[in-house]
Symmetry: C3
Subunit: 271 residues, 3 copies
Amino acid sequence: MTQDTATRPATNHVEAPADAAFTAIASAPILETILDDVAVLVDECVLRVDTDGVSVDAMDPATVAMVSLSVDAEAFEAYDAPDEVLRLGIDIERLGDVVGMADADQAVRLAVDLERRTLHVRVGELAYTLALIDPDAVRSPPDRVDLADQFEATVGLPGREFSRAVAAADMVSDHLEAGVSESEERFYVRADGDADTVAVDVPAEDCTAFDSGPARSLFSLQYLSAVERAVPADDPVRLRLGEEAPVEVEFDVADGDGSVRYVVSPRLTRS
Amino acid sequence: MTQDTATRPATNHVEAPADAAFTAIASAPILETILDDVAVLVDECVLRVDTDGVSVDAMDPATVAMVSLSVDAEAFEAYDAPDEVLRLGIDIERLGDVVGMADADQAVRLAVDLERRTLHVRVGELAYTLALIDPDAVRSPPDRVDLADQFEATVGLPGREFSRAVAAADMVSDHLEAGVSESEERFYVRADGDADTVAVDVPAEDCTAFDSGPARSLFSLQYLSAVERAVPADDPVRLRLGEEAPVEVEFDVADGDGSVRYVVSPRLTRS
Amino acid sequence: MTQDTATRPATNHVEAPADAAFTAIASAPILETILDDVAVLVDECVLRVDTDGVSVDAMDPATVAMVSLSVDAEAFEAYDAPDEVLRLGIDIERLGDVVGMADADQAVRLAVDLERRTLHVRVGELAYTLALIDPDAVRSPPDRVDLADQFEATVGLPGREFSRAVAAADMVSDHLEAGVSESEERFYVRADGDADTVAVDVPAEDCTAFDSGPARSLFSLQYLSAVERAVPADDPVRLRLGEEAPVEVEFDVADGDGSVRYVVSPRLTRS
């Protein structure tokens, strides 16, 4: 076993690129939250990086649901971004697997090598070099549409109440109706199965926020259930609703230094 | 999105029926225990409700094993039953899924609407309306047979000892022999596999109860293993046995305000 | 049910053989560690028993990886072995299932009946009799080869660092390169996937032991991943490496009263 071999010179010490276009240090749980919240809708995404922080806009393949996530630079233990915006194409599951190797609360170091189109991820002694995807090859949502004029009502709920309503509806049907009863001042969810029905009624006084208005729409549970999986049980979520309008589901992440917003389009009303 | 729609008037507030034939409030764990203990043998059952409490008698499809469960009205936080007996046909898994959405120790409200043949289940803000099954369409066990004269011995054991004996026997064979050695004053279990054997011997002094008598029978592990899954590890179980006779496995539920009794028929002795 | 039956006299009390060739009492976790550490490579093994303790030498079916485990008699709560060496053929999963029925830290009693070729396992009231396998029918590794002259470097690492390096490499490739950089005084691991790469570099000062020397080899992850599953996260492991040489992975078990040593052969270098 002493013959000459012609392997690659693998023993060169692997360092993060000295001229990294972007470097950041974050606790593993914050990165996992970011990745998990986007992963419920898409496999790949474009991570936008600028001096203010990072953000993702993504739309599911059927273009029914959208996620917009942003996390401020303050959420990171260290953060050094260029003045111009960077667009990084990310394989979410793959990066999630690497981040998942960190111990709880262990710091994860990120560094982008634009020349080689790679993202360096460092967890303790482990350096993982992830090939970036061409961001133009990642399906992007259309430019942010201003939905504000479609939303007529706002409802704040504990995350677990929202999750329970969606999960229960999913037990009896493939869609649900959600809306606001202006006369009775409450938020409601309804789902009708062949035999069983689900009804959730939350009076205004039990909501963490309640801004009444005409709102009633049907939603496919395929998408709301995906969103529900990302909702934190112990934090409030904010819903915005309208008449045969999308629903917006928004909540804070990264201890308030970031937020996630899902928008799910309504189904056509059965008329 | 302002066109007139002709959807059902779903925004009517869903209330439990004002004239409910039966209403009760119970902690989620007690309801889960009731449902789980019956579910090991059957998918559907008839829940009998009267002023004393609720009870279930059910028999597995092969009519080898039977479960009889009763829980006193005292086990419920609130309980209002009619004078005459109600027979409610229940889809156990479906009701279990709803009850399973409650937080630990959260109160679950039940209300029966006889006119619509529905069971209303309320967990926090969530109202789930479950269609009742026609009780006459649910396979029922024959009238309670008095097996007392077949039982010759009684043995009390910690639940975990019973479970371990059955689980170990299941590793080597598809049936076991259980009985009492009168001469040696002990309860025993035997299972013989192709290569391995299992023997459990519990002397009278290690039993929580021991009333000796001639007892030896073979039992299919398919049914005893199902029963074993319902046995509480930390509470005692009472076994009653005879010669080529059924075995009765009984234990308390609902903090002593109820009990479950399984009866498993013996296999024919290999002779 | 009172007819005469001709079943076997199963009610004879089952005792461990009075003239057992070997008896021992051990805590369940120690036995589980022994079995688990061997099970990552083989299904059956020969357990060697003598007055000093027990040991296993086994080789995986493809003869790429080997495990050598020994646990001193002192690790057992009681231990009574014959002067001559006993060779016991064991079905590892089957014995593991029985030991797994013990509660945490519960004592497990072992007794060997050479005449009947059985191993008696006692857990509380449960006696399990396991048929021994003919030890000559179990594939055995060749006589211990002295690999000492192939090892040029020794590296001590926390178990979790070794595990993380192997698990990360497994995410991108089916093999890894491991070695020592003499010039930079560090242990390294490299794995190259189609798109992603993994690099682990542990400087000498971060190693729990570091004896430098020329070392660089390729290893199939199929075998290193199996070994990795057995490595304790919180204890140090000792690696010995050479140039296109096997890797030895060694760590203590049974609170230091035993040790496990894996040897994995190198893959041919791509040249």
